[in-house]
């Protein structure tokens, strides 16, 4: 029986919705779609976020608990898994939509809280401490005394266009996506426009590649379309090399079908009949979502041979990368898809003229492709109306680090970074002081306090020597040591350097060595080691300049960026490490010394029993002391002491 209704649904959606000739659908059809969308639910609907961030915070168990609750209480209701809403601090997010009322959004609903929360909601005893707000909608009754979530700065200051669907529907259901207008734009595009026209529209919209370079997407497509060839390829780069960013995978999890639609349109625009999604290795949840979504699209005939009798063929495959940072670079990515070591090649020829297997290839980032269906549906003028003179539309950022509210955000181009750090992120955790904002991951730079008023804009940022990068944004506060932070990035790049050209392979190694010397514990201050350390420091800047000038690919050229930018803006921190052998954030293990305050120590022995190197001595109920020579500076004693008797300097 169930099978039958599902087939009925599929036929209905294909025949009455996707293949419907005019833009407006008949009233009956719209009514049925509205039911699929749950616009006006007749039974309570419980939405549980289930993106990676939510799963890590425990949403799987929470969803199971909600299902159990609905069954046990005999409530006629539905539990729906959705993508993530954005704020990682609120995960797992649970929304409850009672018939006729506004949707309520709750935060941090772990398994144990589900029952009391739902009891409260159903029996009109609102659990206020877990409540974020109500999501306003016309046609529903508003709750009294409950704030609207659009008034909360985290949401108010964003412009959620690409993220429009994330968190609102079940990303594993193609039916819901189609009911929300999905895939109709793609079919309209292949029916009404030629390849050139699609490229034109996207070019006119001013959409620029979101992976960092900022090249006009429509123009790039045109280059590929105009290269004579029997076959072309479209690659969706979901590699997301930045170790601190989860933006592409997050949005891919929350709305996989829009990405597929974007790929379909882009592939049509360049006349490609195969597309590859190059996904980062070790992302089990996004991979599973994407596989399901692709299978559903193929079943609906949206991909495959002769797509819904249009004569256009497209095959989309997922290729998981094998773990190499450098494969985010276009030519290295292509080499890796051809089954070779992912090493960059000299450009030109650009991939748009000779790419995968020597055929014209366009490589677009996830965020870029997510914008395409929106541009085709609302028109280029709609897109041009958002943003600044040179940068149109919105930009996704994966806000990480020490902000109070972090997660996936989307802002209109032209928004200042101060709005992001002070408004959206709502300041720093635990009342600490802001130090700097890091943009663009291991190839990126620092945005200092005085540069925070710069807007998100490709041209203005590059005038100030800042690269937009792909969307990693890390808020750094006073508890983070910048020397250590730069060393972390250098260690990452050094491990990931492909080894093809010497400046990058050797340069990153030497820079890492020197940086490690700076943060290492001095064995003795009078030996040759001290001289070597000073010598190394003098050379750091030279190495950085040589690497920037002579490396083959973007990875090597940008690898010294975090160091150069940190040294230019926070030179005093480096000098303190080198001359005073002191780390002001007390992070560098080698440079901090711990001691026990005899006044405060009660002799409870906890620190001595936890010390991994047995460097703490003493008699029970007498003050203990730390042997400095043995201490490795791990800080465990500092963390475990209940009486704040351990001090660090």
């Amino acid at each position: 029986m169930k099978q039958k209704t599902e087939t009925g649904m599929k036929e209905f959606l294909i025949r009455e919705v996707l293949l419907h000739a005019s833009d407006t659908l008949p009233v009956d059809t719209e009514k049925r779609l509205s039911e699929i969308r749950r616009d006006k639910p007749s039974v309570p609907v419980i939405y549980v976020a289930s993106g990676s961030a939510a799963i890590i915070a425990g949403s799987t168990a929470a969803a199971a608990a909600a299902k159990l609750y609905v069954e046990e209480m005999g409530i006629r209701g539905e539990v729906v898994l959705t993508g993530c809403h954005g704020p990682a601090a609120f995960e797992p997010v649970m929304c409850v939509h009672l018939p006729g009322k506004n949707k309520l959004v709750f935060r941090n609903i772990t398994e144990d809280k589900v029952e009391s929360l739902l009891n409260g909601v159903f029996h009109n005893d609102m659990p206020e401490e877990d409540l974020v707000g109500q999501s306003g909608n016309l046609g529903f009754e508003a709750w009294h005394d409950i704030p609207f979530i659009d008034d909360i700065p985290f949401f108010r200051l964003q412009k959620r266009v690409v993220l429009g669907n994330c968190g609102c529907y079940d990303p594993e259901s193609i039916e819901e996506y189609i009911a929300r207008g999905g895939y109709r734009v793609f079919l309209k595009t292949i029916r009404n426009y030629t390849h050139e026209e699609v490229c034109d529209i996207v070019e006119r919209s001013g959409l620029r590649g979101r992976s960092g370079g900022g090249f006009n997407t429509g123009l790039k497509w045109k280059y590929a379309l105009n290269s004579a060839s029997d076959n072309r390829y479209l690659i969706c780069n979901a590699k997301e090399s930045d170790p601190g960013s989860y933006a592409d995978r997050s949005v891919l999890e929350g709305d996989p079908h829009r990405l597929i639609e974007g790929i379909c349109i882009a592939a049509y625009a360049i006349g490609a009949s195969s597309a590859i999604i190059y996904l980062k290795a070790g992302s089990p949840h996004p991979l599973a979502r994407l596989r399901k979504a692709l299978a559903a699209a193929a079943e609906y005939g949206i991909t495959g041979h002769n797509i819904l009798s249009s004569g256009f063929n497209l095959e989309i495959v997922i290729r998981e990368e094998a773990g190499a940072f450098v494969c985010g670079e276009e030519t290295a990515l292509i080499a890796s898809l051809e089954g070779k070591r992912g090493m960059p090649e000299l450009k030109p020829p650009y991939p748009t003229s000779s790419g995968l297997y020597g055929k014209p290839t366009v490589i677009n980032n996830v965020e870029t492709l997510m914008n395409v269906p929106l541009i085709m549906s609302h028109g280029p003028e709609w897109f041009r109306a958002m943003g600044t003179e040179g940068s149109k539309g919105t930009k996704l950022f994966f806000l990480g680090g020490r902000g109070r509210l972090t997660g996936l955000i989307e802002v209109e181009m032209g928004t200042t970074f101060r709005t992001i750090t002070e408004g959206i992120a709502d300041g720093i955790k635990d009342g600490k002081a802001f130090k700097t904002l890091q943009i663009g991951g291991p190839s990126g730079t620092f945005i200092t306090e005085k540069n925070l008023d710069l807007p998100v804009d490709y041209d203005l940022l590059s005038e100030n020597g800042i690269a937009m990068g792909s969307g990693g944004l890390i808020i750094i506060d006073e508890t983070t040591c910048l020397v250590d932070f730069v060393r972390y990035y250098m260690a990452f790049i050094h491990r990931e350097s492909c080894g093809k050209c010497i400046p990058c392979r050797e340069g990153t190694g030497r820079m890492l060595e020197i940086l490690e010397n700076i943060v290492r514990k001095p064995l003795s201050e009078d030996s040759n080691a001290t001289l070597e350390r000073f010598k190394g420091v003098m050379q750091l800047e030279t190495i950085a300049a040589v690497m920037k000038d002579t490396s083959l690919c973007g990875l090597g050229q940008t690898a010294p960026n975090p160091f150069i930018s940190a040294l230019a803006n926070y030179r005093e921190e480096f000098e303190e490490h080198i001359f005073d052998r002191r780390c002001r954030a007390n992070v560098c293990r080698g440079l901090r010394t711990f001691s026990i305050d005899v006044e405060k120590c009660t002799g409870c022995t906890v620190c001595a029993s936890k010390c991994p190197v047995n460097a703490i001595y003493g008699t029970r109920l007498q003050p203990f002391f730390i042997v400095e020579d043995k201490c490795i500076g791990c800080g465990i004693c500092y963390d475990v002491c209940k009486f704040s008797a351990v001090t660090v300097k």
Binding site: E320, G342, G401, G407, C634, G635, I636
Partner: protein, 155 residues
């Protein structure tokens, strides 16, 4: 037909471009890339095993020794790093006595450092036995590993 042969039969003989997916499939099945598997892949693709090793060692994800029966994935994404994942990784190294990518002698434990897993507000995050542990501090590690050791060993 062995499982390796079955995996190979999904691909076209001699198709060099399929080397990475084949290696990924084999590793998914075996847990690592054994010498035997690499020899069979070489025969099938008409490639020398040196070339295959050359490629496989280039990429991070391939391993040549079996993973431990308990495998820890420690997030070393940027946010987890500034929240102290470096200390957590050092504590794991201290307790297990192995480097990332290695396996303990009894074949029980191995661990790796990964890029961002997406749980930035919960960091540092460790993924083990299908469960995420969040807000880990270095001094939680000895206890955590002792608990894992106390579990029945699935040999």
């Amino acid at each position: 037909m062995s499982k390796i042969e079955e995996i190979l039969s999904r691909y076209r003989e001699g198709s060099h471009e399929n080397l990475i997916p084949i290696l990924q499939d084999v590793q998914e099945f075996e847990g690592y890339l054994s010498e035997n598997a690499i020899v069979s892949i070489g025969r099938f693709l008409h490639m020398s095993t040196t070339k295959i090793y050359g490629l496989a060692t280039f990429y991070d994800r391939f391993r040549f020794i079996p993973e431990g029966r308990i495998h820890l994935r420690i997030c070393n994404g940027t946010t987890c790093f500034i929240n102290g994942s470096g200390g957590v990784a050092a504590a794991v190294k201290e307790v297990l006595g192995i480097e990332p990518g290695q396996t303990t002698r009894d074949g029980r434990f191995s661990y790796e450092l990964t890029a961002c897993m997406g749980g930035c507000n919960e960091g540092p995050v460790i993924y083990v036995n299908g469960k995420y542990s969040t807000h880990i501090r270095p001094d939680d590690i000895p206890e955590m590993i002792a608990k894992l050791k106390a579990l029945p060993d699935l040999k």
